[in-house]
């Protein structure tokens, strides 16, 4: 229980995908003009990363069993792309409401490095089991969403701020992203495990 909590919160705060691992920078800069779209994108990413973590775990077992780990990246890309395509079709038919909310973002996410990143990290770096993989995937996406919304919130305010011409648009976006990243680096070295052990007793 404690280690699941640690995985969850460290993926959000300490090893934030956008700000510490620099994965998923493209949507972070591209779709963060408005809070509304940032939230939409965030939920789509949570959805896809959770699913991708689960399915790539299964395929990783298959690859290990056949001793062809070299095919890992290739297989993961294929699996994730197919999964997203499939889910999109099913959503369109079964739940038009959810499709409207996530639909436009789903194809964008198919080949996002963050999605592939979480799958590769689960398999190669952490060797997580199934449940840990899914939790890690979801938490990474939650962290992504959190940063997206914070960033979009500050970008919305620029519209009404007197900004020097040279900084308008992307320059200021990059400066802000850097500052945000610095702020999140403040979580580095934070002993989450001790915190949860003390909070929950020895559970």
């Amino acid at each position: 229980m404690v280690d699941l909590l640690v995985i969850f919160f460290s993926a959000i705060l300490i090893n934030n995908f956008v700000l510490s691992r620099f994965l998923g920078i493209c949507p972070f800069l591209g779709v963060s003009q408005k809070i509304e779209t940032a939230v939409g994108m965030g939920f789509a990413v949570i959805f896809v990363m959770g699913l991708a973590s689960a399915i790539t775990y299964i395929f990783q077992r298959l690859l290990l069993a056949l001793h062809v780990e070299v095919l890992q990246t290739l297989t993961f890309i294929l699996v994730i792309a197919v999964l997203v395509q499939f889910v999109e079709m099913v959503l369109k038919k079964m739940s038009p409401g959810l499709y409207r909310a996530l639909g436009i973002y789903l194809p964008l996410i198919t080949t996002k490095c963050a999605v592939l990143g979480v799958a590769l990290l689960n398999a190669n770096v952490y060797n997580y089991d199934f449940l840990q993989s899914v939790i890690h995937g979801v938490a990474a996406a939650v962290g992504f969403t959190l940063v997206m919304v914070v960033f979009a919130g500050s970008r919305e305010r620029w519209a009404a701020a007197p900004i020097p011409n040279a900084l308008r648009g992307f320059p200021l976006a990059l400066v802000t992203a850097g500052l945000l990243s610095l702020a999140f680096l403040g979580f580095m070295g934070f002993d989450l495990k001790r915190l949860f052990v003390e909070l929950l007793g020895q559970g």
């Binding site: 095919l71 290739l74 294929l78 699996v79 197919v82 038919k93 079964m94 701020a161």
Partner: protein, 285 residues
Amino acid sequence: MQSVLISLVLLGGLGALFGLLLAFAAKKFAVEADPRIDEIEKILPGANCGACGYPGCRGAAEAIVEGKAPITVCPVGKAAVAEKIGVVMGKAVEAVRPQKAVVLCRGGRTDCPDRFVYRGVPDCRAANRLAGGPKACEYGCLGLGSCVAACPFGAIRMNEEGLPVIGTECTGCGRCVRACPRGIIALIPADRKVEVNACRNRQRGAEVRKICRVGCLGCGLCARTCPEKAITIVENLAVIDPEKCTGCGLCFAKCPVRKDREKEKPAPEERQGEKQAAVEHALLR
């Protein structure tokens, strides 16, 4: 060798399997969409300006196919687009009157100075909220260019007097009308012959005089001059009835406010051509 074979079989197998799965899913979960929606979306201008009241051109196309919107729903594309949509939908076009935006204020920086220096957010809606806005006239243009920012066609620019000027790119979409907190921009039929009264100040003439040199005083001289009786004074403002107006321009020649201005400027036209000049002025502005 063996691992090469395994790789080939595995990836080939997976690829084939997934391909079949997606092909099956595409059939099984296909959502039928009316092909006319795509056709109409292609015809529409694609600026997604929202002037029709639907979310983008796609939204408008869906509404047209569903019969919720008339084929003339797009105020930007005007008759040409409506005609093409009519071909797709099998409907005839009723006449669309193209519209254009006009600015109903002439009080620029020199004619109607500010009451205080505004140093906030450069946006008319924000300035308007601060103590009634910096402009001396509480009906006049604030000159911060919210309409310029709102225009999806780049048709509006600010002149040196701090007044918006609407160019020929105007499609009559009405975005600027909604952006202006003071309702200074209005849509009028593009083929309308004569200028509207470019002032919105409803105060009495003496009050207007104090704050603006070009504001309508509501004196009624134009109303008495008009041979067609097309002008009435409503709430201290001259209102021109476009149905009766012939565009003769006599009212502009008589207007005391416009005359004042002419005296200050060197007269560009000959005295004899004054009437003609006034008409042209009316048409151009």
